[in-house]
Point group: C2
Chain length 216, copies 2
DNA sequence: GTCTATATCCTGATAGAC
DNA sequence: GTCTATCAGGATATAGAC
């Protein structure tokens, strides 16, 4: 899948080939649905070699979760740093998250799959990912919101509450696209559906709704 | 789990006992993680009897998906019908969806798990569920929004776009609670976390944000 | 309708030659 | 490091007695 450039292992190394194959398989099938044989096939090697490099299915899976989380939150960080106004920050967040997840809808769905397994694993891994960011994406978003409240660009809001509405609004369509398509078909509100035009409309709609919702 | 009262099969019948056991197992483990043996154990019977009543794992699973979808969209319908103003409709939707999914977070996560399997199955089942509603929930929501635009209570918006932001905002916290907890811990923005107080705050925050976002 | 026993295949993991 | 062969357990599903 080639999501990451920042791999510790050498370019083209067997570790990297296996890890990418494992990510593809786990993201497509989830923990319970993934098969070690499929990972070996994707990597072009045989099963025992998988266990030689990574001891078990679980170790391979945890590496996948770590890399997916690091990718997603690193990606967000890269798109919201250095924005001067709240408006600019908000637009950058919405555009980049929707564009990226629309291209790879399986990534947020994979995170949901991991969440449905409990939450202990993902909390530990997320904690590590944030501690490796400098500054952490949480800090950037928090300061952006607080500054906008201080300058009076937006009304006072609880930053966590706003972030949840923002993330939910950005992610819902890409995750639940089949449901939306069916609801749209039933109401006749989608008409001749053009996905890329619809995504542009989606970005504009989320921005307008949320910006109107918080501005003073 | 006892989500449904409207079962066709008799109260306390073996079919119903099995179906409820199957729902518990599939909702907890997903399609790939669910085990026929676990379903049999939950129902207090043995495996062959499972195949006697329902031919295969797949048939049992499809019944579960149908019943979960019928439950969720039926539940929403019951809470948005007969609301006179848009404001009243919006508050009822937010309160009931957040309250319900906060009690059963696994239900939206189960739907996500099914979405990650593709989307064909769920579209077919959703289409059937909507066709069995009278009026369908899609119609109620659509007319509510259009009327609010006509009376001038809200500005012109694309109903589908608004519904996605609404659903995303309501569902994000309950699905991603472990992530939110970790982000909150990292920023120190959650403090002494009291879940039920936080859920009240969540309902208020979503309502205020979205109502401000669309009102004229 | 309900059970025991079993068929058939698949799964993660390892032994051991090279 | 890489392979073939294989283990031990678990998966869905069925045969057949009662």
């Amino acid at each position: 899948m080639m999501l990451f450039d920042d791999v510790t292992s050498e370019e083209g190394s067997k570790e990297k080939i296996i890890l990418e194959a494992a990510m593809d398989e786990f993201i497509a099938e989830g923990w319970a649905g993934a098969r070690m044989q499929s990972i070996a096939d994707r990597a072009g090697i045989n099963k025992p070699l998988l266990h030689y490099y990574f001891r078990s299915k679980e170790k391979l899976y945890n590496q996948t979760v770590y890399r997916v989380m690091a990718y997603f939150f690193g990606f967000v960080l890269g798109n919201v740093e250095g924005k001067d106004s709240f408006q600019e920050f908000l637009r950058a967040f919405i555009d980049s998250v929707i564009d990226e997840t629309a291209e790879n809808p399986r990534i947020p769905l994979f995170i949901m799959q991991e969440l449905s397994r409990g939450g202990e694993t993902i909390r530990g891994i997320l904690s590590q990912v944030l501690s490796e960011q400098n500054p952490p994406v949480t800090e950037v978003m928090r300061t952006n919101l607080i500054r906008a409240m201080e300058t009076g660009e937006i009304r006072p809001v609880n930053p966590i509450q706003f972030i949840m509405s923002l993330l939910g609004s950005c992610l819902y369509f890409v995750m639940a696209e089949p449901i939306i398509m069916e609801l749209g078909k039933q109401t006749g509100l989608l008409g001749n559906f053009d996905r890329s035009r619809f995504l542009e409309e989606r970005k504009e709609a989320v921005f307008t709704l949320l910006y109107n919702g918080v501005r003073s």
